[in-house]
């Protein structure tokens, strides 16, 4: 089932003197349950593409349909609500709320969706177990290693059972062991919960795990390979 469709998407930034084509005529489809990596050198448009898929940025031209909804037709408040219900984000620098514990960080989005306490507790424990941090439930981000923080970030991204997770360079700040652990967890969650994962990455270890690899260069898709 198609969860995401990009049709002739362009993104042009107007600086003072020149126009920069960050994304140039990209058309892609993503099926439910995909585990895809978008790769390419710095400045190739990976983050811009992810931001547009996540509704954080709007294309200058073209359409992005998420679950057959054209994001450009939604008001900004509706986009935020749409993101909350359908998209999970994992960031390169974890971006956890430093004053909250691991449990509270994961619960945050469920609170925004007004889940009951019982449901929240069950889901939080389920995710903490899935990312192997059930013993760090009350630890604050500063008390966790980088790898552990990113695992909490993955759990937070999955908290509200989104349709897909967008991860921007999720392993860039992690060592080899943490990267492997994180990738194994994400791969398992992808399989168990059938959630689509789309990464932007430079990391060969992520590329190796991905079942689909899309390569961008100067904002254009230069290759799109699916592995079985």
């Amino acid at each position: 089932m198609k969860v995401l469709e990009l049709n002739n998407v362009h993104k042009v930034y107007n600086t003072t003197h020149i126009e920069v084509h960050a994304v140039n005529d990209v058309s892609l489809n993503f099926e439910e349950g995909e585990f895809a990596a978008i790769v390419g050198p710095s400045g190739s448009g990976k983050t811009t593409l992810l931001n547009m898929i996540g509704g954080l940025d709007m294309p200058t031209e073209g359409k992005i349909l998420v679950n057959n909804t054209d994001l450009s037709t939604l008001k900004s408040s509706a986009i935020i609500d749409f993101r909350m219900r359908n998209i999970g984000f994992v960031f390169q620098s974890y971006n956890l709320i430093p004053v909250l514990t691991a449990k509270e960080n994961i619960e945050f989005i469920m609170n925004l969706q007004k889940w009951s306490r019982k449901k929240r507790d069950e889901r939080t424990m389920e995710l903490l177990k899935a990312v192997g941090l059930e013993d760090r439930i009350n630890s604050r981000p500063a008390q966790l290693s980088g790898g552990q923080q990113q695992r909490v970030a993955v759990a937070r991204a999955l908290a509200s059972k989104p349709r897909f997770v967008l991860a921007d360079e999720p392993t860039a700040n992690l060592d080899t062991k943490s990267t492997e652990t994180l990738l194994d967890i994400m791969e398992k969650l992808n399989r168990d919960e059938n959630i689509t994962f789309i990464f932007s990455t430079h990391d060969a270890r992520v590329v190796k795990k991905a079942r689909r690899v899309i390569t961008l260069e100067d904002g254009k898709v230069v290759s799109d390979k699916t592995r079985r």
Partner: protein
């Protein structure tokens, strides 16, 4: 969740938040305490004026206040007093004679108001008899001595009734009061010498002790060196009801000491039967009826009632007799408001500044929150809540500190002894008991909350304007 997160966010940078809270606390305390001191001083002054000088309501002939003519008097006083004392709200009533004259001693003379009173009835209305300076007499306690007068300390000084002398007793008292030995040795040089007035004594003192020692111990030496000749004689001269110059010899039956120098130096109290005889004034007439009410809050209604009952007489309450008191009270209200506006403005700027820094520091995090689905309304609410918490924490702690300090000082008082002369020249006591009503506390607390909410709007709007994609790119 937003409230909990906002509270935790305040403590993200503990030192900064504590500095903000401490500055708000100090600001609020400074403002509230200053208002408390002003309010206490004014209330004390009003109480003293009512209690020692004018009572709640005075009744006079309609022309008496403008020309002080003896002929402008109230007839059939006993009937009036009987009627007034029968009013439920009235605690006590008395009548007075009032003559303008001169007080004279062998060395000095000065203009005074001579007030003829019934000492026992006066005690039920005024508290001036309690202000008797120890060792100067017994008010009008000796029934055999009709010619006694109760005079103010400043008048006693002006008439050279108070003198200054260093003797063995004074040396002993100063020694036990902690005066350093070297100063004692210096001032002992004047032992046995008597000074007629304060000025000559101070001049002599300055010739032997340094300015620093004078500022530290001068007041103590001055107080201990004061001597008073019991039942000192002086004369009062005035015009009688036949416009003939007359007068009498009086003896000091007591010296009162109150914070109002003007009153002290000009008001002499004598027994009304003596004064009546001297001015040849008919019985059952008086110049003034003074009334003390059971409750000061009844002043306005009782003034109105008495005006209706006695349309031919002038009925004035304390606010009308001393409009400066009423004006001071009203002006103080304006000043309190002005003070609080300045303090709340400082609080608002402090909060705006801090919260703008908070927003600036957390751009990336706020971008992340919007990215994961926290809508703008909730981001706005979170920043607002943080600001309100910060204002409330500082505001409430400021109010608590103020309340504690005001409670302590309202019973012990604050002594501005070094500025005593200045205070007393303005009619204020130098020992002030700060006081603030609970309504003031409640209003200020409410204003702090409103200020906190208003000052959080701008930083919260700043947070709303953030573009999440842009914010997430921030390092």
């Amino acid at each position: 969740m937003i409230t909990k997160t906002a509270w935790k966010n305040i403590w993200r940078n503990k030192i900064r938040s504590l500095v903000v809270i401490a500055s708000v606390t100090i600001g609020i305390f400074a403002g509230v305490f200053a208002v408390g001191v002003m309010n206490g001083a004014i209330d004390q002054r009003i109480d003293e004026v009512i209690d020692n000088e004018i009572s709640h309501i005075q009744i006079t002939h309609t022309d008496f206040r403008s020309n002080n003519d003896l002929a402008c008097n109230i007839k059939d006083v006993s009937r009036l007093e009987e009627y007034i004392s029968g009013i439920e709200e009235v605690q006590a009533v008395s009548d007075r004679l009032f003559v303008v004259g001169m007080a004279n001693t062998a060395r000095k003379s000065t203009g005074v108001n001579i007030i003829g009173i019934d000492p026992d009835k006066e005690k039920e209305i005024f508290g001036l008899y309690k202000e008797l300076k120890p060792g100067t007499g017994d008010y009008f306690g000796d029934p055999d001595r009709e010619e006694l007068a109760y005079i103010g300390f400043d008048l006693a000084k002006n008439l050279n009734i108070i003198r200054y002398e260093i003797n063995d007793n004074v040396i002993d008292e100063l020694k036990s009061a902690g005066l350093p030995a070297e100063i004692l040795t210096e001032i002992s040089k004047f032992s046995g010498e008597r000074f007629d007035n304060e000025r000559s004594f101070k001049k002599a003192m300055r010739s032997v002790i340094s300015a620093k020692n004078e500022s530290g111990y001068g007041k103590l030496i001055l107080e201990k060196s004061q001597t008073f000749r019991e039942r000192a004689k002086f004369t009062l001269t005035f015009v009688d009801s036949n416009n003939q110059l007359t007068g009498g010899v009086f003896r000091v039956g007591g010296i009162y000491n109150i914070p109002n120098s003007m009153f002290e130096s000009s008001q002499v109290f004598v027994q009304d039967r003596i004064l009546r005889r001297l001015i040849e004034f008919p019985e059952n007439t008086a110049h003034q009826i003074v009334i003390r009410l059971k409750d000061v809050d009844d002043t306005r209604s009782m003034t109105k009632k008495l005006r209706t009952d006695f349309p031919e007489l002038e009925v004035l309450n304390w606010k009308e007799i001393q409009p400066d008191m009423a004006m001071m009270s009203d002006f103080a209200g304006v000043m309190y408001g002005f003070f609080m506006v300045i303090i709340l403005a400082a609080l608002a700027f402090g909060i705006v500044n801090t919260m703008l820094m908070v927003v600036l520091e957390r751009i990336k995090e706020l971008g992340m929150l919007t990215a994961i689905g926290m809508n703008k309304k909730k981001v706005f609410r979170m920043i607002m809540t943080e600001s309100v918490f910060l204002s409330l924490a500082g505001g409430v702690s400021g109010m608590v500190v103020s309340w504690i300090i005001i409670r302590i000082t309202s019973t012990r008082g604050i002594n501005f002894g070094s500025m005593q002369e200045g205070f007393e020249a303005m009619g204020f006591s130098s020992h002030i008991y700060p006081d603030i009503g609970i309504d003031f506390f409640l209003i200020v607390t409410l204003l702090i909350i409103i200020t906190g909410v208003l000052s959080s709007v701008y930083p919260a709007f700043k947070a709303l304007k953030l573009d999440p994609a842009e914010a997430l790119r921030t390092e």
